[in-house]
Amino acid sequence: MIFEALKLSLLVVSVSTAIVGVVGLGFSYLLAKSSFRGKEFLDAVLTMPLVLPPTVTGYYLIVLLGRRGILGSYIYELTGWSFAFTWEGAVVAAVVVSLPLMIKASRASIESVHPEFETASYTLGKGKLETFLRITLPLARRGIFAGLVLAFARALGEFGATLMIAGNIPGKTQTMPLAIYEAVASGDDHRAQLLALVLTAVSIGAIYLTNKVSRTSFYG
């Protein structure tokens, strides 16, 4: 059972971190480099899950994606499938709560790249995409990596929103944090201890990694 929860957690967290990496970079670039109406509103909406109680985020996810949800009802009609009570639902919950951490860190580091480097790349004939990939991204990589590690750690610990949308089905949607809750609730101290130790070790590892990365620099 511990192994099942660990396996499921790793699946959910790796898929959600991959999605957060791609989507988060896109939003970070948009927020850092372009100006459009409603930019700060978009930032506020994306950041909201950082301050919202996870159960409230989860409630909104049910309203949006549940079987009778705003989008969920269409998905259910078309496919007979719904995010509710699936591991994919747990991925959505993990993405939504961890995306703000990625965006905060990577937007700040993309903004801190001196625009003169990008201008220099343009004068040397390089387009926007190539400039982003070869100049901006490598120069902002510390912040981007830190954002990814934070998002990974946040997704691993996700409890409230996951419980709301995906439920707590052992072997199907019961990730490690949910398994700890159930172990404690059913008086299985030994199992709770073991699960807690594993999660603690991963969290310490995440902090160590972000600190290590933020100390290396190109600028002398």
């Binding site: 480097f117 201008t119 220099a120 004068t123 004939g125």
Partner: protein, 221 residues
């Protein structure tokens, strides 16, 4: 020949509205732009490069129209093929000297880019710093790499924004020699912004003095 006739108004720091109204034409060779800080010299270079867009006017290099408001022509930065030496060099901090120079070479094959970068390194006598990152170079070495990078794409014009302002006096004379011989090889117009009267006197075949956004005096050979 470079022909400029541009107008632009913009807000400077403290919100003061600043008007730029510049018109002149020069042949290839050196053209030195002098004048007090904030007179519009850097803005002019940025308009030639396509980094800034004028409100009105025309920028032509030889038979190529870079910008013409009336005819709605505005060639993007990437296609203007200018060699720009930035005031603080803007060398890519995560790339070695060779990588910085190769970045600007406009050929597809990476072996060709490397060969061209090596050729540029030896032209500027900096083979010994080929694998160094910008932060491991002296000011003069950074300046040479910046110059080599700007010229590696075989530009049609070179724009140098106070290229020697961050270099000590002894190095300055040597670098001026190299800039002169680079121009001699490339045979393209070099537009050179400086505050330094000695540099201006030495390089100034054409001299244009800009003050408050206007050409206050011009000596054109």
């Amino acid at each position: 020949m470079l022909a400029i006739n541009v107008k632009k108004s913009f807000h400077k720091q403290h919100g003061r509205l600043f008007h730029l109204d510049l018109s002149f034409s020069v042949n290839s060779g050196f053209t030195v732009l002098t004048g007090p800080s904030g007179a519009g010299k850097t803005s002019l270079l940025r308009m030639i490069a396509g980094i800034l867009t004028p409100d009105q006017g025309v920028i032509e290099l030889g038979s190529t129209v870079y910008f013409d408001r009336e005819r709605r022509i505005n060639i993007p930065i990437q296609q203007r093929n200018v060699g720009f030496v930035f005031q603080d060099y803007a060398l890519f901090p995560h790339m070695t000297a060779t990588q910085n120079i190769a970045f600007g070479v406009r050929t597809a094959a990476s072996a060709d880019r490397r060969a061209k970068a090596e050729e540029m390194l030896s032209l500027f006598h900096i083979e010994h710093i080929a694998d160094r990152l910008p932060r491991e170079m002296s000011g003069g070495e950074q300046q040479r790499v910046a110059l080599a990078r700007a010229l590696s794409c075989e530009p049609r014009i070179a724009l140098l924004d106070e290229p020697l302002s961050a270099v000590d006096i002894e190095t300055r004379g040597k670098l001026l020699d190299e800039i002169e011989s680079a121009q001699d090889r490339a045979k393209i117009p070099f537009i050179y912004v400086t505050h330094n009267e000695a540099e201006a006197a030495r390089l100034g075949t054409n001299r244009i003095y800009i003050r408050d956004g206007l050409v206050a005096a011009a000596e054109i050979a």
